[in-house]
C-alpha cells in the first residue's frame, strides 16, 4: 500500500533542514586552535627535518616544473620535499583552512596575490631571514634580482594596512628600504603570469596576406602595437565563412573578463588596479568607459571574435586559437596549435593605447608562521626560487620571476626560438604590467566587475551604465567587507 504520508512528512522535514545544512557547510568555519609555533626551528643551526611539506597549485603555478626538482632537492638537502597539489578553488580553501586552524602541517604554502591581503598576518615575515647570511647558505634570496614590479606586488605588504601597495614599485628590492617604509616581505615569488598576445606568425608572414592587407588598408601587415592597429588587423583576418576570426576575448563571467578589462583600462590611461589603495572606485572613469566601449565594439560592431566569445574563459580562448579559429589571442601562457593546424605561433606584448598595463597575477612561496622547520623551509624556498632552479624549470613552462633568468633564457641558445620569444615578451609585459587591487574580498569585487564587462560585451547594456552599476555594487561589497569607501 501507499506509504504513510504523515510519517513521510516527519521524515522529510529534517531532510529539508539537511538540504540547507549542506549549504550551511559552506559557511562552517574552522575554529582556530592553539599556537604551536614555538621557536619553530627558526635558528640557522636548527636540525634538519625528516622532510618538508609544501602545498602547491596544480596548474596555475606549474606544479610539474616544481615537482621535477624533487630529486635534485633530495640530493642538495638530504631530505625529501613532499609537494601536495590542489586545483585552484580547492587550494584556496585548503590554504585558508590550514591557517585558520593554526596548522603546522605544511612548512611552505603557495599564495596567489588575491589571497594575500587576508593572509598576510598569517605568514612569517621574511626580512630578518633575508638579511641573515647563515640562512642563505644553500641559495641566496637575492631579492634585488626579482622583477621589481613582480616582487613588490606579490610579496611586499604592510600587515597593518594590507590594502596599501609599496609606493615605489620600480626600485630594485632591498630589505632596508622595504622595512623602512613600514612594509614586510611575506614570500618569494615563484610564478609570474601576465596577459601576452599570441598571433599566427605564419599568417602574418604570408605574402598573399601581406599584399591583401596592404590593398585593403593601405598599410603594411605587421603585428599590431596599438589598439587601433589591432582592430584593423582583426577585421582583416575575420572571415566567418571560413570559420576564421581576428581575435578572441575572454568576456564570460569570471576573473578573466575583469583581466581583459583592466588591461584595456590601463591602456586607455586609467588605473588598471580598478580600486585605489584607499578603496576609491577608479574603474568607472571616462577612461574605463572608453576602454569598455572599445571592447564592446570589437565584439558587436566589428564582429572580429568567434561566436560564443561572451561566454568564453581563458580556457576557451586558448582552445579557439589552438584550433586555428583566430589569428590572434591574448592569454596567460604559451599556446600550441592543434596538430591539424599547420602554422607557427609568435608572441608580442598586448597593444598600447595612451599607456600600457597588461594584467599580471603572480604566486609566491610563503613560510607558514606555525611551521616547526622554519629555517630549513626558508632555505628550501630560496633554493626553489633561485635563478638556477628557475632556469631549469622553464623547460617545463615555469614563468620565472627573476630578471637574471629572463636575461639568460632569452639570450642563450638553450631553448627554441618560439620559447625565447615567449619569455622575452613575458619579461617585457611583467616590467610594465599592473596587478590587482589589494582587497580581502577581491573575488567578489572582481565578479561584480566581470558581470558588468559581460553585460557591456554582449551589447545588452551601454559601457557607462554597466560601469555605473558595477561601481554601486562594488561600493556595497567593499562596505560589507568593512572598508570605508571615499565619497560614499
Amino acid at each position: 500500500m501507499a506509504p504513510h504520508l504523515g510519517s513521510l512528512r516527519r521524515l522529510v522535514k529534517p531532510l529539508g533542514g539537511l538540504g540547507a545544512a549542506a549549504l550551511v557547510m559552506t559557511a562552517v568555519a574552522c575554529t582556530p586552535g592553539t599556537d604551536e609555533s614555538g621557536s619553530g626551528g627558526v635558528g640557522e643551526a636548527a636540525a634538519k627535518p625528516v622532510r618538508l611539506r609544501m602545498l602547491y597549485a596544480t596548474a596555475e603555478a606549474d606544479a610539474t616544473a616544481v615537482q621535477s626538482l624533487k630529486p635534485a632537492f633530495k640530493q642538495r638537502f638530504g631530505f625529501d620535499l613532499e609537494i601536495d597539489t590542489q586545483p585552484y578553488d580547492a587550494l584556496q580553501q585548503k590554504v585558508f583552512s590550514e591557517f585558520a586552524s593554526n596548522s603546522s602541517y605544511y612548512d611552505i604554502v603557495i599564495v596567489d596575490t588575491p589571497w594575500a591581503p587576508a593572509l598576510a598576518s598569517q605568514l612569517e615575515p621574511l626580512s630578518t631571514y633575508v638579511d641573515n647570511a647563515a640562512l642563505n647558505d644553500v641559495a641566496k634570496a637575492d631579492i634585488a634580482d626579482f622583477v621589481p614590479k613582480v616582487f613588490y606586488d606579490t610579496a611586499v605588504y604592510d600587515a597593518k594596512h594590507p590594502a596599501k601597495h609599496f609606493p615605489d614599485s620600480s626600485a630594485a628590492p632591498q630589505t632596508s628600504a622595504i622595512t623602512g617604509k613600514g612594509f614586510e616581505i611575506y614570500g618569494l615569488p615563484i610564478q609570474a603570469n601576465a596577459l601576452v598576445m599570441a598571433y599566427r606568425k605564419d599568417m602574418f608572414g604570408n605574402a598573399g596576406e601581406k599584399a591583401g592587407y596592404q590593398q585593403a588598408t593601405g598599410k603594411p601587415l605587421t603585428v599590431p602595437k596599438t589598439w587601433d592597429d589591432f582592430t584593423s588587423v582583426a577585421q582583416y583576418f575575420t572571415r566567418p565563412e571560413k570559420k576564421l576570426y581576428g581575435t578572441t576575448v575572454m568576456a564570460g563571467v569570471g576573473d578573466w573578463a575583469t583581466d581583459d578589462f583592466k588591461s584595456l583600462l590601463a591602456g586607455w590611461g586609467g588605473d588598471g588596479h580598478l580600486i585605489g589603495d584607499d578603496q576609491s572606485i577608479t574603474f568607472d572613469s571616462p577612461e574605463g568607459v572608453a576602454a569598455l566601449q572599445y571592447y564592446q565594439d570589437l565584439i558587436n560592431k566589428h564582429k572580429v571574435v568567434p561566436p560564443g566569445s561572451t561566454s568564453a574563459s581563458w580556457d576557451e580562448a586558448a582552445s579557439l586559437f589552438d584550433s586555428g579559429t583566430t589569428a590572434m589571442t591574448a592569454n596567460y601562457h604559451t599556446l600550441k596549435l592543434d596538430s591539424k593546424v599547420k602554422g607557427e605561433i609568435g608572441y608580442a606584448p598586448v597593444p598600447t593605447g595612451k599607456a600600457q598595463g597588461p594584467h599580471f597575477g603572480t604566486w609566491m612561496l610563503s613560510l607558514n608562521k606555525n611551521s616547526k622547520n622554519k629555517a630549513w623551509a626558508y632555505r628550501a624556498m630560496t633554493w626553489l626560487t633561485a635563478a638556477e632552479q628557475q632556469v631549469a624549470m622553464t623547460k617545463l613552462q615555469l614563468h620565472p620571476t627573476r630578471t637574471s633568468v629572463y636575461q639568460r633564457i632569452t639570450t642563450g641558445s638553450a631553448s627554441d626560438p618560439a620559447t625565447r620569444n615567449f619569455y622575452q615578451v613575458l619579461g617585457e609585459s611583467l616590467a610594465v604590467g599592473v596587478g590587482r587591487a589589494r582587497l580581502t574580498n577581491y573575488t567578489e569585487v572582481s565578479n561584480a566587475i566581470a558581470k558588468a564587462v559581460n553585460k557591456a560585451a554582449s551589447g545588452r547594456t551601454s559601457p557607462k551604465q554597466a560601469l555605473d552599476e558595477a561601481a554601486a555594487e562594488v561600493t556595497r561589497l567593499l562596505k560589507d567587507a568593512g572598508y570605508k569607501v571615499p565619497g560614499s
Binding site: 504523515g6 529539508g16 539537511l18 540547507a20 549549504l23 559552506t26 562552517v28 582552445s319 579559429t325 554582449s458
Partner: protein
C-alpha cells in the same frame, strides 16, 4: 490499537478477568508504595529515550549542531582568519536581506527549481508508466535510463559545455546537418543559457524521478484497477482517477527530494555560466560560495545560509501538503 481491541473482544470472560487481576493488584501496590511505582514509571519512560539515543546523537551531531553553529555564526562579524569576531545582532541578516542581488538570486533559484522539477516530474512519469511492468526489456531500459543519474554533475557540466560550443561542439554541428540554425551562442544569451542549464538538469535528474515513480507504480495494489476495469473505465480514466491518486505519496517524495536537490544545485552553474550572461543565471549558491569560500566572510555567509534553511524548511511541508492532497486522508 485496532488489533488490541479485536483481542479484547475475542477474549472475553475468564481470560480478561485473569488479565485484570494482576493490573488491579499492581495498582493497589502502587498506592501503597508510591515511590517505588514512580521509579518504575520513570524507568519505563526512559527506555525509549535510551533506545533512541544513538539515533538522536547522530541527528544532533549531523543536523542540530551545525544548525546551531550556523545561527551563532550568523549573529557575529568576522572572517575565517579573524577569530576576534563580535556579536552584531541581526546586522548580517539586514545586509543579506537588503541586498538586491540576493533577492534577484533567490527569485532566479526559485524559478529554476519550479521549471526543472516540473519538467522532470512530467517526463519521469512518462518514462515510469511504460517501464513499470517488470519484463526483461523493461529492466534493460531502466538500467540504461539510470546512466545520466550516475554521471558526476561536474563532469556532465563540463561535457555539455563542450558539446554546446558554437565553434566546435557536436550540437552545433548536427543542428547544421539537420538544417537548423547553427552557431547558436547557447551560453551567451540569457534565454538559451537557461534552456541549456535546465536541459542538463532534466537530463541528469529525470531518471531519479522516474525511478521513484516506477517503484511506486510497482507497489500499487491491482484490485482498484481491476474494479475500475469491471466498471468500464477507460485506460486514461483508470490512470487519471485510480493510479494517479494512489501514486500521490510517491509524487510527493519525488517532488520534495528533487526540490531540495535542485535548491542545492551548484556545479552546473559554476562550470557552465558562472552566473552569466551578466547575472541572469546567478543562483543563490554561487553567491554563498563566493562569500563563504572565496572571501571567507563567515557571518554574512551564515546569515544567507540561514535564510535558505528557513525558506526550505517552510517549503517542504507546503510541498508535501500540495502534492499529497489527493492521498488517503488517513495517511496525511
Amino acid at each position: 490499537m485496532t488489533r488490541g481491541m479485536t483481542m479484547t473482544s475475542t477474549q472475553r470472560g475468564g481470560v480478561a478477568v485473569r488479565d485484570l487481576e494482576p493490573r488491579a493488584a499492581a495498582t493497589a501496590a502502587a498506592r501503597r508504595a508510591p515511590g517505588r511505582a514512580r521509579r518504575r514509571r520513570v524507568s519505563g519512560g526512559a527506555t525509549p529515550w535510551v533506545l533512541m539515543s544513538p539515533a538522536l546523537a547522530v541527528l544532533l551531531l549531523m543536523t542540530v549542531a551545525p544548525a546551531a553553529y550556523l545561527i551563532w555564526a550568523s549573529l557575529r562579524s568576522g572572517t575565517l582568519l579573524n577569530p576576534a569576531s563580535s556579536f552584531v545582532g541581526l546586522h548580517n541578516y539586514r545586509e543579506v536581506l537588503t541586498d538586491p542581488n540576493v533577492l534577484h538570486s533567490l527569485l532566479i533559484t526559485a524559478a529554476f527549481v519550479v521549471v526543472a522539477v516540473s519538467v522532470e516530474l512530467v517526463l519521469g512519469l512518462l518514462i515510469a508508466v511504460p517501464l513499470a511492468s517488470q519484463s526483461r526489456s523493461n529492466n534493460l531500459a531502466a538500467t540504461l535510463m539510470l546512466l545520466p543519474f550516475a554521471v558526476t554533475p561536474a563532469v556532465s557540466a563540463m561535457i555539455f559545455k563542450e558539446l554546446l560550443n558554437p565553434n566546435y561542439g557536436w550540437v552545433d554541428h548536427y543542428m547544421g546537418v539537420l538544417g537548423l540554425p547553427s552557431q547558436v551562442e547557447w551560453l551567451s544569451n540569457p534565454g538559451t543559457a537557461w534552456v541549456a542549464l535546465v536541459g542538463l538538469d532534466v537530463w541528469q535528474w529525470t531518471p531519479f524521478v522516474a525511478l521513484i515513480l516506477m517503484a511506486g507504480l510497482q507497489s500499487l495494489p491491482h484490485e482498484p484497477l481491476e474494479a475500475a476495469a469491471i466498471d468500464g473505465a477507460s485506460t486514461w480514466q483508470s490512470f487519471r482517477h485510480v493510479t494517479l491518486p494512489m501514486l500521490a505519496p510517491f509524487l510527493a517524495i519525488a517532488v520534495t527530494l528533487r526540490t531540495i536537490q535542485a535548491v542545492k544545485t551548484f556545479d552546473a552553474f559554476k562550470i557552465r555560466t558562472g552566473g552569466g550572461p551578466g547575472d541572469s543565471t546567478e543562483i543563490i549558491n554561487l553567491g554563498v560560495y563566493r562569500i563563504a569560500l572565496q572571501s571567507f566572510r563567515i557571518g554574512a555567509a551564515s546569515a544567507l545560509a540561514m535564510v535558505l534553511l528557513i525558506l526550505l524548511s517552510l517549503l517542504v511541508p507546503v510541498l508535501l501538503r500540495a502534492v499529497g492532497r489527493n492521498a488517503n486522508p488517513e495517511e496525511i
